[in-house]
């Protein structure tokens, strides 16, 4: 009973909200590219670029907002490299994505050592954390006060972004072209739309989202940069995309689940669960959900087929 109350406590829900944005933002970025037919599996690498550049710019300017912008710009530049290979040179998406992952991990580690002369992690008190928001009206309600108040503004921004991207994808011209580019680019091209342009704009959105997610990790969720600090969140985001059927609203739920499990994992360590097992939980849950949902996916899509 006691372990149950530890897991399902308001603190856990607050922690869930706190750990949601990186997965959600990377997931939204992935949805954009997937819908446009240029799925990038390099979300992890892009987020790492965002973490490092966000932290560095913040350190140099002592401004959280410039830090975020710096993270977004740097990540977008790297995303454009992916875009150039995939859209212009028509390289294999998977290989380009893997390259972006390696590049993100390698470049951020290399620059950390070159610029700051440290290994493993870097912390400087000059770095300003992204501000948190509290709603005074909720102070009197202990449950909501614990869960909602004192969360980083990025938590709320990322949730709003999910709604906005849903609106863009399904209710605007641009979104229609993004989806059309993914479904049948020739059909879109013969309708007189420049497919490359649509895809490059998508890539820019996608880079900005990953950059925001990364910057949040290093200057919001934590206020330090650690090598490989994205810790598989870019890949978990890909699971969330599959889980949600690339729907921006559904991915809210999917990332909520993964963030919840991530929060539990930390908590489990405090109740005599071996720590390695506890840390494994998010990844195990990811694999299990994927196994379940992809099975359903086959039935959904090709229901009329035997297999």
């Amino acid at each position: 009973m006691s372990s149950f109350s530890i897991i399902f406590s308001p603190e856990i829900l607050a922690a869930t909200l706190r750990s949601m944005p990186p997965i959600l933002l990377a997931g939204l970025a992935g949805i954009m590219t997937k819908r446009a037919g240029i799925e990038n599996i390099g979300l992890e690498g892009l987020m790492l670029i965002g973490c490092f550049s966000g932290y560095t710019v913040n350190y140099l300017t002592e401004s959280w907002i410039l830090g975020i912008l710096g993270g977004m710009i740097a990540t977008t530049l790297i995303a454009l490299v992916f875009g150039f290979f995939v859209i212009v040179l028509r390289s294999n998406k998977i290989i380009a994505g893997v390259a972006i992952n390696s590049l993100g991990a390698g470049l951020s580690t290399y620059l950390l050592r070159m610029m700051f002369g440290v290994k493993g992690s870097f912390y400087d008190p000059r770095v300003q954390a992204i501000p948190r928001a509290s709603f005074s009206g909720l102070k009197s309600i202990p449950l909501l006060d614990t869960i909602i108040n004192n969360q980083s503004i990025i938590v709320w921004i990322s949730i709003i972004l999910a709604l906005i991207i849903n609106l863009i994808l399904f209710y605007t011209r641009f979104g229609t072209y993004v989806r059309a580019a993914g479904e049948d680019e020739e059909a879109l091209a013969t309708s007189g739309i420049n497919v490359k342009k649509i895809r490059f704009i998508t890539i820019i959105f996608h880079g900005m989202l990953c950059g925001l997610g990364g910057a949040y990790l290093s200057t919001g969720y934590l206020t330090q940069f650690i090598e490989n600090m994205s810790a598989g969140r870019g890949f978990i985001a890909m699971a969330a995309i599959a889980f949600s059927g690339a729907q921006p609203l559904r991915i809210l739920g999917a990332t909520g689940l993964f963030a919840f499990v991530e929060s539990i994992a930390y908590r489990l360590q405090s109740i005599n669960v071996p720590s390695y097992f506890a840390l494994m939980t998010p990844y195990v849950v990811t694999v299990i959900t994927l196994a379940i949902t992809s099975h359903k996916g086959i039935k959904d899509k090709k229901g009329r087929r035997l297999v």
Binding site: T172, T176, E183, D184, A187, T190, G192, R304
Partner: protein, 515 residues
């Protein structure tokens, strides 16, 4: 004089490596006429039209629209010039609705910048009325029949203010009824002052509908004819350089021929929970061609898929050479049935694989093609060369990708591969859809000679000329039921048409649910 022409293409050249797709081609089209471009597959018709629509840039040549010299750099430019194109393989987005497809690139938006779906639907309804082409704007494109897809494509072009409409093989996929409707549409559009260019190789249609004809052969213009002053024979001889006789091999009748494919009470429920096949019973005997005639979407696809095992059946039996194959795997069934699917691009071929790989594909693990765990390339190559020769597949080499071949040659790969199998049963759907005259005749002759070797052929065709040419018996399908068994020697096109549209049924078939 030239300013009379709405389209004036002069000396158009387009080379792909050593292949001269277009070699000094000339095309002059007058305003408000129906102009047919005829030629064998690979004659360069599609290339010429892709140039006119801005999808391909010519290496050399001059294009004038309405007397003004233009460079058509992209489809967008073509659309601005009032040129619309309906491709042979439709360029529609399956997951989108009819209205979304028609408005793609021109979506109406409201004040907030969001797409105005109601306006979109009323716009589509309006142009649909204006041109007399009925569509359901809210339906998803993936659920439409081919005839309707084409209608959506035509409306899409018209909605962009196209005055010159190019149609690539518009009737290749249509039923006779749909063809007539389409021709009516063409005439209506001509009255409204639209110019229509059709690419085709069906000469009877050319004669019926066009005002002028331009003939292409091997990338060169072979002349422009006035339809009323020429004959199908003259066009054919200009196209192919020789007169070809009708292929016809008399059927060799055998007494007591064995039944090969027996289908009894076959029912299939579709993904929409509707009954797609209702107690279909039929038998294909040794040495006969049984044709399923019917309007597209009457259950032919479901029938074929059930026989080959791509689709779950609700009830009934399927016997091949006396053995029930209804529970067997697709692979096992293919040991009895050769199969030529209706869609060669999606089902019949792996378009990215080479010609050679496609010729042995599906049978690669059989017989001598394998040597232990390795492929036996000497045997494979021998077989591939034999097939390329025997089926007159025009390809630079067996290592070309199947994609690079013309439609007719792609079809010959599929037909060749399947006919080369020693199976006693052949299921073949739309064997000459989008295939030129020469290749069609060749394929027809091959089918007749297979029949005379004793193979039982189940032919699915929506082309009534083909049905009458090939069939020994006709089974007409309507709404998932067999509504008539007919002898082609005793019925007319019109009668078959009546059964196909459900205007007439053989009562005894309906009462018993089978023959």
């Amino acid at each position: 004089m030239t300013d009379n022409y709405v389209v004036d293409m002069e000396n158009i050249c387009k080379y792909y490596g050593n292949v001269r797709a277009n070699d000094q081609v000339n095309l002059k089209v007058k305003k408000g006429e129906i102009h047919a471009i005829v030629g064998e597959n690979g004659a360069g018709k599609t290339t010429l039209m892709n140039i006119l629509y801005g999808l391909v840039q010519p290496d050399f040549g001059r294009i004038a629209i309405d007397g003004k010299e233009v460079i058509i750099s992209s489809p967008r430019k073509a659309i601005e010039l009032g040129i619309g194109m309906v491709h042979q393989h439709f360029k529609l987005i399956e997951d989108f609705t009819v209205a979304e497809n028609i408005c793609l690139g021109n979506e109406p938006v409201d004040k907030r910048g969001l797409i105005d779906k109601n306006k979109m639907i009323s716009f589509v309804t309006e142009i649909s009325k204006q041109f007399g082409l009925k569509v359901e704007p809210k339906k998803k494109v993936s659920s439409l029949s081919i005839g309707l897809l084409q209608r959506v494509e035509i409306l899409k072009s018209l909605s962009r203010g196209a005055d010159i409409l190019i149609l690539d093989e518009p009737t290749a996929v249509l039923t006779p009824m749909e063809c007539e409707e389409l021709f009516e549409t063409f005439k209506k559009m001509r009255e409204q002052g639209k110019t229509i260019i059709i690419i085709t190789h069906k000469l009877n249609e050319v004669m019926a509908i066009s005002d002028n004809i331009t003939i292409l052969s091997k990338g060169k213009t072979k002349g422009t004819l006035v339809t009323s002053e020429t004959s199908a024979d003259e066009i054919a001889s200009k196209m192919m350089g020789e007169n070809m006789g009708k292929p016809y091999l008399e059927r060799i009748h055998k007494e007591n021929s064995k039944p090969l494919l027996e289908i009894k009470d076959l029912s299939v429920i579709g993904e929409d929970n509707l009954e797609k096949l209702r107690k279909v019973t039929l038998t294909v005997k040794e040495g006969e061609i049984l044709t399923i005639a019917g309007v597209e979407g009457s259950g032919q696809t479901e029938l074929v898929e059930s026989i080959l095992g791509f689709r779950k059946i609700a009830s009934g039996t399927i016997n091949a050479e006396g053995i029930n194959i209804a529970d067997k795997s697709v692979k096992d069934r293919r040991n009895y049935c050769s199969f030529v699917p209706e869609d060669r691009i999606k089902t019949g071929l792996s378009v990215n694989a080479t010609v050679g790989e496609n010729i042995i594909g599906g049978y690669h693990s059989k017989g001598n093609f394998r040597k232990g765990m390795f492929m036996n390339f000497p045997t494979i190559n021998k077989k591939v060369h034999e097939t390329i020769d025997r089926y007159q597949i025009k390809t630079a080499s067996q290592y070309m990708s199947a994609q690079s071949l013309s439609g007719g040659n792609q079809q010959k790969i599929v037909v060749g591969r399947e006919l080369e199998q020693p199976n006693k049963i052949l299921v073949i759907a739309q064997p000459t859809r989008g295939v030129d005259i020469g290749s069609s005749r060749f394929i027809h002759t091959q089918l007749m000679s297979k029949r005379n070797e004793g193979v039982g052929i189940l032919l699915i065709s929506t082309d009534l000329d083909e049905v009458f040419l090939l069939s020994d018996r006709i089974a007409v399908m309507f709404e998932g039921k067999i509504v008539a068994f007919l002898n082609p020697k005793e019925v007319t096109h019109r009668e078959v048409g009546l059964y196909m549209t459900g205007a007439k049924v053989q009562e005894e078939l309906i009462r018993e649910g089978g023959n």
